[in-house]
Assembly symmetry: C2
Homo-oligomer: 337 residues x 2
């Protein structure tokens, strides 16, 4: 019986569902852990945390932690708490991001800061970060603690880098790549690295899992940034244009500016740097991205990083886990179409 | 030669200076570590961090970590990084607090958020918290990691508790004590506990050091809260009245409300709950605190907790370290006079 081919066929249609199916039992434990660890006698904490945690995120990062541990034949229980830690680190970042970006919405709901104030978003983020570290300590692997605490530092650096680069149309492609490697890919990489560490696999295998996570994370963020202008079709739908309005300099914009003329440069300067955005500007922006093939090229680069992610798994024998992890790459890329 | 008596005489005058003198060499290393670990290629990070770190805080918490390690005859190097971690945790809390309280000033300088924005204060706080955990991991004691990550969670809980209790004059004394035990005393306790853990001392000795830190932290915060209304003399000087303007319900206010009549209750309701503060209200508030002996009693309680802190050290043989730690208690209390 060739399970992996069966799964491959199934996931060609189902996208991320083979991973969801495989991690099922483990993920139930992660969800129970998340629920238990957002508990506090200080009632505002579970309220705020649950608002965000139960708002239908995909929980992709903790699923990756579980899948990598299983790909590496890990037989213990530590991966559950580390997966919950990874999700808490991610949630803390979202809470703090909303304060930094002054966002009104998150995952289609009012951002926590709109309901409980910036104060609560900052402090509950700190609480979740603290709980994440507590769980890591309970698992007891100093190497995993090193990987995840390093990621916490790099994520914060990436967010500050992004803040420094915002509203500056001279931002170069290399600056942008440094930002997304730090703010997004670092956590994907760490999420994928801790499983093989728990399973005591070889340095080469650990590095391969990390490389998968890092490249998947880059692809994921590139697609996210293309989607913020409607993806390959550049359709103006809901949630489109947030980055534009916040003056974020993402790859689609960097490419379009590079290839644009002086008049276009004035347009980007007025809108992204000065924040002077008028009716029709978002449509003009997406028009320029189309004209300079900036979205198509951003997606092509995402595909290339996705390919690197897939190739990172080459050294592992075929298994349903390996196939599901390869399918995740397709899932992340296909969001843009 | 009786060094401890000599030191005792000296510190009777000098307050905290015997501790400063004793930790000198170790503290130089802590300061070098702090400087090195605020470094980042992302230039905004060291700018923001140094603005606060070099602004003349006493660095009382890391000094306590060093002193407790030496009191317990610790011979290694781990206490330096843990002391720096403790200071980073404290600094991160200050950065986030300023955002939460919307403070304009910190330690007599403009708050970081006024110079670089709330965004930078949130993110650089996150960076410092991450660096704190990295250093703890490098030291490699899972027990110390457990103590400090637990403190991080409790501090965040304390801050949220304070947020929930703010602007609510029904806050009881027990609520207030729970807030300050969490937001202040937890870090003092952890700072004092990690040294004896590194030195592999007995559970009773570790608990004694922790008790010293916890009780000193409570005393420290009680005095801080009395000082916010001018201390025992209730003089209106600079920095007085911040808590009043922010609607923070501290012990002096809780005691005055308890002992006041209905008309006074309306006054507190208008000023603290509704934030409707008019000319002369701060003077009236401090007048009521005087009248009900609320400041005198707050300071008396601080003295009682200070006594508990001092008694916690009873089991340790006399030494310059023990004397210096006892003197720190006097120093903290004497600030109120």
């Amino acid at each position: 019986m060739n399970v992996s081919v069966e799964l491959k066929n199934r996931t060609k249609i189902a996208g991320i569902s083979s991973l969801v199916g495989l991690v099922g039992g483990d993920m139930d434990e992660v969800n129970a852990t998340i629920l238990a660890r957002t508990g506090s006698a200080v009632t505002m904490i579970p309220e705020v945390a649950k608002h965000l945690i139960s708002s239908g995120g995909k929980r992709l990062r903790p699923m990756l932690t579980l899948a990598m541990a299983r790909l590496c034949d890990y037989q213990g229980e530590g991966h559950v708490k580390l997966a919950a830690s990874v999700e808490f680190m991610h949630t803390a970042t979202l809470l703090h991001d909303d304060v930094v970006d002054q966002s009104d919405m998150r995952r289609g709901k009012l951002a926590a800061r709109m309901l409980w104030g910036n104060e609560a978003s900052v402090l509950v983020g700190d609480f979740l970060l603290g709980q994440a570290f507590r769980m890591m300590v309970e698992v007891g692997s100093l190497t995993c603690l090193d990987v995840l605490s390093h990621a916490a530092v790099v994520i914060a650096e990436g967010e500050v880098m992004q803040l420094s680069a915002a509203k500056d149309i001279r931002t170069r492609e290399a600056d942008y790549m440094a930002v997304i490697e730090a703010k997004t890919a670092a956590l994907f990489a760490a999420a994928c690295e801790v499983g093989p560490i728990l399973a005591a696999r070889s340095p080469a295998e650990i590095a391969a899992c990390r490389a998968y996570g890092k490249n998947l994370g880059i692809a994921f963020q590139l697609i996210d940034d293309a989607l913020d202008y409607g993806g390959s079709s550049a359709k103006l739908g809901k949630n489109v244009g947030d980055d534009f309005r916040e003056g974020k300099i993402t790859l689609p914009v960097v490419l379009a500016i590079q290839r644009g003329n002086a008049e276009e440069s004035s347009f980007w300067q007025r809108t992204l740097e000065k924040g002077d955005i008028q009716e029709g500007d978002l449509a003009r922006a997406t028009g320029l991205l189309q004209q300079h093939r900036a979205l198509v090229e951003t997606i092509a680069r995402a595909r290339a990083y996705g390919e690197l992610a897939r190739e990172s798994l080459a050294g592992f024998p075929d298994s349903p886990w390996k196939q599901a992890l390869a399918d995740v790459v397709d899932f992340c890329i296909s969001r843009a179409h």
